[in-house]
């Protein structure tokens, strides 16, 4: 019997998800021995033609990491869809747009301008920007088209499974690979993560939530035993899916929301906004005047960047409204 084919492909990603694969340690060797890797450019010297040459629908499982920020990512996603029986949106970028998805506060043109013209180190007096097609000495050079709106993988192709996390927790990677090897994959739509919020698995003690000041991360060294949110630090735990076993919170770092929204939530940011606003000035909410409330609320310096750090493309609005 031939080994099941597996592909690991990269869209717009930092490749951190690849590193998390290597963290599996000896399991990687077992997995590598029992599957046929048809495409994994970070792992070995694969070319796109290797993936193009396998028959359509023959790849048992494809892990797609990264968001869709340009035409190249989109083309690859569609190729992967054609070749694969099951596609996993692997990591927060593929699931929700991730950190690259924050580009949805701007447009492709403005981002290019910042990167190539406006930064102090740019020496570009003519204001030249990369072009999808340029002619140099009679030859054509092509670049992918950068999109104005960054998308998650399932906004481009249908996806069977989701494995959120930045990077995804090892236990779920192992679970998915073992399931694929034994041919016992869960029903489509399955999310490799917990069905409950991060607070559910956080070991800190929760006493009384009453925020009278919001502390930025550099301003205090938080108590390592008590709920971070209760200490005034913006922790995305209440609005974020668990399953990661809270490694950040265990190390005194607030949750940033990489596991995405909880299963019932329509919008991760709005859920967090609701949870946070509810506990602001809780002890004196009947008497607090607008004059005192507004400065307290303004201590949340960047609501959009905080509440949608990993999920702007999958939020209700998907992006900031472009200025006309």
């Amino acid at each position: 019997m031939s080994k099941p084919k597996v592909a690991i492909v990269l869209g717009s990603t930092c490749a951190g998800c690849d590193y998390s694969l290597l963290d599996l340690g000896p399991t990687v060797a077992d997995v590598l021995a029992s599957v046929e890797i048809v495409y994994w450019p970070t792992g070995a010297d694969f070319k796109l033609s290797d993936l193009e040459s396998v028959p359509d629908g023959s790849v048992a499982l494809t892990l797609y990491e990264g968001a869709i920020t340009n035409s190249d990512n989109e083309e690859l996603a569609k190729l992967v869809r054609r070749k694969s029986k099951a596609v996993v949106a692997y990591g927060s970028c593929a699931c929700f747009g991730g950190i690259p998805g924050l580009a949805n506060v701007s447009t492709a043109k403005d981002i290019m301008k910042t990167a190539y013209v406006e930064t102090w180190s740019s020496d570009n007096k003519e204001g030249q920007l990369p072009q999808p097609l340029s002619k140099v000495n009679g030859k054509h050079l092509e670049l992918p088209v950068t999109y104005d709106t960054i998308r998650a993988l399932d906004q481009v192709i249908p996806v069977e499974y989701y494995m959120p996390g930045c990077p995804p927790p090892l236990s779920y990677i192992e679970q998915a690979l073992v399931a694929a090897l034994s041919g016992k994959l869960p029903p489509p739509g399955y999310v490799f993560a917990s069905e409950r919020s991060l607070c559910d698995e956080c070991k800190r003690t929760k006493e009384k939530k009453n925020l009278t000041a919001i502390k930025r991360f550099h301003e205090i060294i938080p108590d390592s035993q008590r709920c971070l949110l209760e200490q005034g630090i913006l922790c995305m735990g209440p609005a974020t899916r668990g399953g990661c076993k809270a490694p950040c919170v265990d190390n005194n770092i607030p949750c940033r929301g990489c596991m995405g929204p909880t299963p019932e939530a329509l919008d991760q940011g709005a859920k967090m906004l609701s949870a946070l606003a509810s506990i602001l000035a809780l002890d004196m909410e009947s008497g607090v005047s607008e004059d005192r409330l507004i400065p307290l609320i303004q201590q949340v310096k960047d609501p959009l960047g905080t509440f949608y750090r990993f999920g702007l493309p999958k939020s209700m609005f998907r992006r900031v409204i472009p200025r006309r």
Binding site: S71, E74, V105, T107, A108, K109, M112, L129, P130, Q131, P132, V145, T146, Y147, D148, T149, R151, D154, Q155, V156, I157, P158, A265, L266, D267, G269, A270, K271, L273, S274, L276, A277, S278, L280, A281, E285, S286, E290, L293, I294, I297, Q298, V300, D302, P303, L304, F307, M316, F317, R318, R319, V320, I321, P322, R323, R324
Partner: protein, 155 residues
């Protein structure tokens, strides 16, 4: 055409004060323009910020949130929670590029039918002057998994 624009406004009203106030406006035969779509909730504190975002996404040009006056909440503190959520949501909507005037919070008691009609007229005129919601104009919510013409941008 600005003149043919009729604002669509979603109103969230609590069962105990604001909805009763609107009922009073109705039974007293007070008139106000028919641009409102009223959603009754048991308490303004039931209103999730998600619902407001959803209303805008679904095509609302404005959202009016109403509840009991401070101190009058049937559930003691629901309207206080709402006030804090709305104030924080205003900051978020500003970052999303939506005019802050499109979201309004008002306290309306069961006896304030007249106040309600006044606020309704005022709000409708405000939204009319702002024009259609930019979320509708930009076509931001077009279906995504048929992406032939998606993208653009670049240079």
């Amino acid at each position: 055409m600005a003149s043919s624009f009729e604002p669509r406004i979603v109103v969230f009203a609590c069962n105990w004060c604001s909805y009763a106030g609107m009922d009073l406006a109705g039974t007293s035969r007070m008139l106000y323009p028919a641009n409102l779509r009223v959603v009754r909730l048991m308490c303004s504190g039931r209103l999730e910020p998600e619902h407001i975002l959803y209303a805008f996404k679904a095509g609302a040009d404005g959202v009016l949130v109403t509840g009991c006056h401070p101190g009058d909440c049937h559930y003691i503190s629901g309207n206080y929670k709402t006030r804090k959520r709305i104030r924080l949501l205003e900051q978020l909507l500003a970052q999303f590029g939506l005019e802050k005037e499109r979201l309004r919070l008002e306290w309306i008691s069961a006896s304030e039918g007249e106040l309600f009609t006044r606020i309704a007229k005022e709000f409708i005129e405000k939204i009319r002057s702002l024009g259609p919601s930019p979320l509708k104009q930009e076509g931001l919510f077009a279906p995504l998994i048929t992406v032939a013409a998606a993208g653009g941008g670049g240079e």
